[in-house]
């Protein structure tokens, strides 16, 4: 108990500049600097960081929800009249391919237009955060698009034309199935095999078999298993204990992603959330974690950067906030550790899923 009191005294000393962060995300939603051009194809993920960041800050009132929702729906790759492109459905990252703007179907066939698994994931999250009821999401098309991305070894491509395949996209797939409340989008057993195969000799997870352990991939592994409800089935108690130990050792002040690497703000979430899902986050040092995250706070433009004295960016700004939320920063909303949206957005999802289930029941009663 005494420890908590002295911690809250120190909390006062480093101030958290809420309003700057709100303005940082507002600017992110309006215009991005030129150096972000290379991220054009993944613009929806940046929008997600800004929206979810504003949600964590309880500042979504600065967003024009309807405009945002329409824009996100314009990124949905919908089935054509003949349903010839179901395996390519999902959400795109942005309009960079040049498909004409439209928020309704039928879809237009273009040889290079397809969903991207991380865009479908962040697209659905963003809609939920904005309070949308997902009624315009073509769920069956999204799930068909998802099934087309899974390989024999259980991992996923990002796009149906092919790309690298690894554990990151398993996480995206699991989140999509979880949100749509429909696991027909993936072969869970194969995915679990791939995840288990990625467990390294030091009990961290790599991107795939034989690859080096990393805080980000460890999050993808554990969060996926939690979303699937298979954590204790897939991993033994000894394995879970060793994973906890590898993760706890990532704290230096803040957290790093791999041994002998510098600490980086985003790992306060990737590793912090993993520890939370494994029930041992309470054993980390909150004070040092908070001090580090706030040392990367940009006092002028807002946001957080990966290291002190670097430029802030939306990813680190968002994950820095999530890292602070995990340790209970007073002005921030709580974050759902596995799904990486606020508990508030998560509750909205739960209510939606209840109405979907209720309407299936009443439908079947009528027949």
């Amino acid at each position: 108990m005494a420890e908590e009191e002295s911690q809250s005294e120190e909390f006062e000393q480093i101030d958290f500049l809420r309003d700057r962060h709100v303005r940082f995300f507002q600017r992110t939603l309006q215009v991005l600097p030129e150096r972000y051009a290379s991220l054009e194809t993944t613009r929806l993920t940046i929008i997600f960081f800004a929206l979810s960041g504003l949600d964590v800050l309880d500042a979504l009132d600065v967003v024009d929800r309807n405009v945002m929702i329409e824009w996100i729906y314009s990124l949905q790759v919908l089935p054509t009249e003949e349903q010839s492109n179901l395996s390519r459905c999902g959400f795109r990252g942005s309009s960079h391919i040049g498909i004409p703007y439209s928020t309704k179907g039928p879809g237009v066939l273009h040889p290079y237009d397809s969903g991207h698994v991380a865009m479908t994931y962040t697209g659905l999250c963003s809609l939920l955060i904005l309070g949308d009821d997902l009624s315009r999401v073509n769920k069956q098309a999204c799930l068909a698009g998802l099934r087309a991305l899974q390989l024999e070894d259980g991992s996923f491509y990002a796009v149906p034309e092919g790309s690298e395949n690894d554990i990151r996209f398993i996480y995206c797939a699991a989140s999509i199935c979880y949100m749509l409340d429909d696991w027909s989008g993936m072969d869970i057993q194969k995915a679990i095999e791939y995840i288990r195969g990625s467990l390294s000799y030091d009990s961290g997870f790599g991107q795939g078999a034989g690859r080096e352990s990393h805080g980000g991939w460890t999050y993808c592994a554990i969060a996926s298993l939690c979303l699937m409800g298979r954590l204790e089935e897939a991993l033994s108690r000894q394995e879970l204990d060793r994973i906890r130990r590898w993760c706890i050792m990532r704290q230096q002040t803040g957290f790093h992603g791999r041994p002998n690497k510098p600490v980086d703000t985003c790992y306060s979430f990737w590793v912090g959330a993993t520890l939370e899902l494994l029930d041992v986050f309470q054993y980390t040092n909150f004070d040092k974690n908070r001090s580090f995250i706030l040392s990367t706070q940009d006092r002028l433009v807002g946001g957080f950067s990966k290291w002190p004295d670097s430029h802030p960016d939306p990813l680190h700004a968002y994950l820095g906030l999530c890292g602070l939320s995990l340790i209970g920063e007073p002005s921030l909303r709580k974050v759902h550790a596995a799904l990486n949206i606020t508990q508030r957005a998560f509750q909205h999802l739960q209510q939606l899923q209840q109405t979907w289930r209720d309407s299936t029941v009443s439908c079947s009663r009528q027949h």
């Binding site: 108690r237 054993y283 980390t284």
Partner: protein, 583 residues
């Protein structure tokens, strides 16, 4: 989004930059549009390659363009001869090298290089390995490069011992090379695999059924090679004891393959006509095929978890039809099958006995030694000696302390108890950031030692008071316990897992901070509950006790709830079996 350091610039510099950016943007948009219109018309020529090249130089993560480029290259394979194709791909490799110089961490560029290397008519693997060497010399932690190197090695058939030699050189020049140690961990078991262990008696021959969860890094290393590796690793951590690379590798070397799964205990009670089963890991009884056979007859029983909140649990119980085993004159033979793992356990219920059990104790299973290898004791002793030597030189080194604790628990958990506690105290000072974690670990070890002592004494009494415990664990090992004393600790709850104590008769939990009694759920033999000086605050908190039919004595003195008006009357209604109540 990689870290970029802030640099100040003048207004003029800003304006120049702005003009350049506008120019770049115009060029980009024109090139993109030209690209897509070509693609639309199905044109796959050199100009198309040029256009995609321009765009990819500035944006190597435009996946769609790489795909288009691959289409063009594949088309060229069909219309040009082998020499031309070789030349085209070599040009591609040069282009990729320039991309990688700009961004050595681009998924798109590395993926493309891998794709090209696989298709090149006459690949130059030496060149690829040399590229990797150069890249790693700039950043030895670039996992894209390491992954690519692994692919090259695989495709070109570089022998494993050559790669092992490569890691020797890297580690030799710099012990602090985590990626090299990692790579070594994947190579070693390939070169020196452990011979498989002989099967155990309780395991049935496997039938053709779905395989159990696939192993992870269970590729073990043969003993001769292990000893050499110990030497290598010791050199590393004696040279730089603060570098964690060698310690994690050492931990892995000392580590053990997973224990085989089994039913660790079957308990049967005539009185309650109930069977309780403890498995070696949490399961869902329905999905793993738990089957009860009584006197040769399979029984139709419903397995239930000890608590509704526990869908996954190591302990499962079922009730037998009334009269099946209640007659004390009859002997019965039970077998419980864990069909998914092809294992079973028998239990004989003898004439005149009201209960029976069959178990492999924690001691038998070496449960609490499972961290470390089945290596000969002499090997572990000599490793402990080395670590102790280092500890004298580096008394504040946390890795050393942790490893010593580990080795001690592998050799003799009870014998080294005092030293282990002393080392934990030092560890909490030396690595104070993680002191809460070490406290939890220490509590866990103390609980384990108490279990071992209890088994050694062959009693069913578990006593662990005044040990600063904040949580309880290994409750599945306490299935047979009749008396438990956890008084004078810092427990806040008796969680659902506590219901695994199916034989419990007496609970002493005075002087804790308990608010929550969820775990006292349908405990059939529980008679006495002592909860003096805890934090039970409402009548509702006492609700779970109503499910324990034999409860006779209850001590609630020093709890906020004791001040509730009319409490005695309420409790008389809620808990009619209680004869002795202390408020």
């Amino acid at each position: 989004q990689h870290g970029r350091v802030k640099i100040k610039s003048t207004a003029q510099q800003e304006e120049e930059k702005r003009k350049e950016r506008e120019k770049k943007l115009k060029v980009y948009v024109a090139a993109r549009d030209a690209c897509f219109s070509k693609r639309k018309e199905g044109i796959m020529d050199d100009e198309a390659l040029q256009l995609t090249q321009q765009l990819l130089s500035s944006n190597p993560d435009f996946a769609t363009l790489w795909n288009y480029r691959r289409e063009i290259l594949m088309h060229m394979e069909t219309v040009k001869d082998e020499d031309q194709v070789q030349k085209i791909y070599e040009t591609e490799l040069s282009f990729l090298e320039s991309c990688l110089k700009v961004n050595p961490k681009s998924y798109g560029s590395w993926h493309q290089r891998g794709w090209v290397s696989a298709r090149l008519p006459r690949p130059d693997w030496a060149r690829e390995l040399s590229l990797c060497d150069r890249c790693l010399s700039l950043d030895d932690r670039n996992f894209h490069c390491w992954d690519y190197r692994r692919m090259v090695v695989k495709m070109s058939g570089v022998p494993v011992d050559q790669e092992l030699g490569f890691t020797d050189r890297l580690i030799g020049s710099n012990f602090s090379n985590y990626s090299s140690w990692h790579y070594r961990s994947t190579l070693l078991p390939l070169l020196h695999p452990e011979s498989p262990e002989p099967p155990s008696p309780s395991r049935e021959p496997p039938r053709s059924s779905p395989p159990p969860s696939p192993p992870t890094q269970s590729h073990r290393v043969c003993e001769e090679q292990l000893l050499k590796e110990y030497e290598l690793v010791q050199n590393a951590f004696f040279t730089d004891p603060n570098d964690q690379s060698a310690w994690f590798y050492y931990r892995w070397l000392l580590g053990r393959a997973e224990r085989e799964e089994m039913i660790s205990c079957v308990y049967v009670s005539r009185e309650v006509e109930r069977v309780a089963v403890a498995c070696s890991r949490p399961v869902n009884a329905q999905s793993v095929g738990l089957l009860l056979v009584l006197d040769g007859q399979p029984q139709r029983v419903e397995w239930r978890s000890v608590h509704p909140q526990l869908k996954h649990s190591p302990v499962w119980i079922c009730d037998l039809p009334p009269g099946t085993i209640s007659d004390v004159v009859n002997e019965h033979n039970l077998t419980v099958h864990w069909t998914e793992k092809h294992t079973h356990r028998d239990c004989a219920l003898y004439t005149g006995r009201s209960e029976s059990w069959c178990r492999d104790s924690a001691t038998d299973q070496e449960l609490f030694r499972s961290e470390l290898s089945v290596e000969k004791t002499s090997v572990l002793q000599s490793e402990l000696q080395s670590c102790n030597q280092l500890q004298e030189l580096e008394p504040l080194n946390k890795w050393c302390l942790l490893t010593i604790i580990l080795l001690m628990r592998a050799l003799d958990p009870l014998g080294y108890e005092k030293e282990t506690l002393a080392h934990f105290r030092t560890l909490k000072e030396v690595d104070s950031m993680r002191s809460a974690y070490y406290s939890d670990l220490c509590s866990r070890f103390m609980i384990e030692n108490t279990i071992l002592k209890m088994e050694y004494a062959e009693v069913r009494v578990f006593s662990i008071s005044d040990k600063n415990l904040t949580t309880l664990c290994h409750l599945d090992q306490l299935l047979l316990v009749t008396h438990i004393n956890v008084s004078c600790n810092q427990l806040q709850q008796l969680p659902p897992h506590f219901a695994m104590l199916q034989c419990l008769e007496v609970l002493e939990a005075d002087n804790n901070s308990i608010e929550d009694l969820e775990g006292l759920h349908h405990l059939p033999k529980l008679e006495e509950v002592l909860l003096k000086n805890n934090k039970i605050s409402t009548l509702a908190d006492l609700q779970p006790l109503a499910s324990c039919p034999k409860l006779k004595r209850l001590d609630l003195r020093g709890n906020p709830v004791a001040g509730t008006a009319n409490l005695e009357v309420e409790l008389a209604q809620l808990l009619p079996s209680v004869m002795h109540l202390l408020l």
